[in-house]
Symmetry: C2
Subunit: 413 residues, 2 copies
């Protein structure tokens, strides 16, 4: 047994004990952890500083890595928020009694052991622990090596609270930051029930390529909004501007505007707020012709479609009908969030039915794709696959179910 395997086995064994912990106790643990995180602010910040010292302040990851008193307060607030949510466990999803008297119930249970692989965002360590504990799951964390000191400090604080409440620290472990531990985790068949990667497309691709256990892919959003010939242009203008500029770095932000060709003469007006706000635009040939009087507009090439920009950049595709818009989306979308702006009910219904994405919108900004907006209470990520969970994943999505059958001697003929 490798050193990793013994960790995986330990977590797996300890996770079996979590199902017996009352929700009241879990909530108390989370409240106490929020308090301890704040009282240990100095310790957390000084350990975080060790990581920051090893990174250049111009590295885009620097800001994500940084902990400060405000951020620790926000983390504590999120721990308290999770403690106020209803337990996702022991819900009866179905119930029936067979003619022979056998009672069958389908009830929610923890997934078991969750593996989370993430980059240099130490807040994820607290965040994911809270969701795992609340849903009765064991947890194996593999954080980025850039955040090793921060993560070690955070797990120390978490373990301190677990010990105080007599709960098994072995159910929640942080793997060594070395690269080999990721590979071992991805192959921990029999010990780990699901892997959730949180981070860049490169990380997600690596996980998909190497995992021998089920993975939930989260994150990547190549997002389109189609403005058809019947669209209310004022609504369209506001929706596009909001979807692109509200938080360009998040996955629900707009990447490609699709316009019906009949709107080309009003296109400059539609994109004016974007141009005024320094959004770089890559226009296909038709839309480029319509916009080229503005020297800031660039001609798109193939690489500008199917790209998640995560910044103030956007491509434009011109179509002559809905079918072309649907085909473009089917070809380039990452099936995260897709929208239509239209006043034609038939077109709206067709779009909402035929577009295959976690969230499909009519006449609204794709910025709403978010666990809190959808009423999930907390979010571990936004799934872009179709198995198990799609779109924002909350506590319910960290659960499985089992069939509980009670009899008094029934046998099957």
């Amino acid at each position: 047994m490798t050193k990793y395997e013994s960790i995986f086995q330990e977590v797996n064994l300890a996770s079996r004990k979590l199902i017996g912990i009352s929700d009241a106790k879990i909530n108390q643990v989370l409240e106490d952890l929020a308090g301890l995180a704040i009282s240990q602010t100095d310790f957390l910040i000084s350990e975080n500083q060790k990581d920051l010292d090893r990174m250049s302040p111009t590295n885009p990851m620097y800001d994500r890595l940084l902990l400060n008193p405000t951020r620790i307060q926000n983390i504590a607030n999120e721990l308290l928020q999770v403690s106020t949510l209803p337990s996702p466990l022991q819900h009866v999803l179905e119930k029936k009694t067979l003619e022979n008297g056998l009672s069958i119930e389908k009830i929610t249970v923890p997934l078991g052991v969750i593996g989370v692989i993430y980059e240099a965002r130490p807040n994820v360590t607290f965040d994911v622990f809270a969701l795992a504990l609340k849903s009765g799951n064991g947890l194996i964390l593999k954080g980025g090596s850039d955040a090793e000191s921060s993560n070690r400090a955070i797990i120390k604080v978490i373990h301190e609270i677990l010990v105080k409440h007599g709960l098994p620290t072995t159910a929640f472990q942080l793997l060594p930051a070395e690269r080999e531990s990721t590979k071992a985790l991805l192959e921990a068949v029999g010990y780990v029930d699901v892997i959730i990667p949180r981070g860049s497309q490169g990380l997600i691709n690596f996980v998909r390529e190497n995992a021998k256990i089920p993975v939930i892919e989260t994150g990547a959003g190549i997002v389109h909004t189609y403005v058809d010939e019947t669209a209310d242009l004022e609504k369209a203008k506001a929706i596009i501007f909001n979807a692109k500029t509200r938080r360009p770095s998040v996955c629900n932000s707009l990447d490609c505007l699709i316009v019906h060709e009949s709107l080309l003469e009003k296109l400059d007006e539609l994109v004016a707020p974007l141009v005024d706000n320094e959004v770089e635009i890559f226009a296909d040939s038709s839309s480029f012709q319509a916009l080229k009087s503005d020297p800031k507009i660039q001609l798109a090439n193939e690489t500008h479609f199917g790209t998640e920009f995560l910044s103030l950049k956007m491509s434009i595709k011109t179509v002559s009908n809905m079918g072309e818009a649907l085909d473009h989306i089917a070809k380039y979308s990452s099936k995260h969030s897709e929208a239509i702006v239209s006043e034609n009910q038939e077109a709206i219904d067709r779009f909402l039915m035929e577009v295959d994405a976690a969230a499909v919108y009519a006449n609204a900004s794709t910025s709403f794709t978010d666990g809190a907006q959808f009423g999930l209470g907390a979010e571990i990520g936004i799934s872009t696959q179709k198995l198990h969970a799609r779109g924002p994943m909350g506590l319910a999505e960290l659960c499985s179910y089992k069939w509980v059958v009670r009899g008094n001697g029934q046998i099957r003929k």
Copy 2:
């Protein structure tokens, strides 16, 4: 693009059209297919004979491969049965209206494209087609090479019905029987949404090791029944006999009897019906001592635990308390079906809560783990994993969902 990739792309594109087909039309297709399967009995049997001619009649697969008029009638009946089930699509799972007037609905949709890899069971070809069509999913089939002529004949019959109804045959395709096509299917990222292997543990292991897309593991059942010190021995005797002998070749059949040590003196009585029916018993040292007057009882070694026998064989493990029984199950179970026989309500509740399996039973035979028994109407397999679907999988488990958001210009602050 490889020859396989163009097939995958074709299925993926065509599958997008399936969501627009009415349930009434789908049911008509299934009814017509049932009729055509029967009227083409001679053709199907003669093509099946070509496969049978290449296999030795003593091969255990021979019987599974065989088609005859009765079996084709059964297949037709199953097609008709699927046509009577309610559509699993367009169900509203959740519905809410945000304060800003945004309407959000969570509705069921097809998974997209399902890949099924199976061995020499030609009935699976009809079976899986019916479930895929009914749930709006495209389908890529990879059958065993031993059944190639049979499968080609069946897909020809299926395509004939699709053409008659003006539906795209390209949405339902059978891959060439060559081995490379399996590997290609397992790597069809972006085209296939889920792979379901149906067959031996070896096949399932191969799929798990090589798939780059989500897999639902089905089948393997290493099943225990624990008889505790309070058990009603008559119930226990009947339950054990039924779970072991009703259909020993299926996944819900009993593999290991766990007995409390206080029952050792009555163990011979408990297992007498099994011994009388030629069940080979591998007993651990304590139970062997109790049973050794019977020369047919064998002493178990480690390999007899954690084995799915799929035949008239069973191991016995002796424990001195519930904790040991739970540990034994956690160590060796495949998380399929697990049972306790007990008259102690506290012990029952603990067992049902702590045992991690798709189906957990008190005082009943594990033979009931089955889609029809659980009321699912039809079954594509029994999942032994915890993501997406657990236990028997029916039409609902071949669906995902999407969030449909309707607004009138809403943007997010």
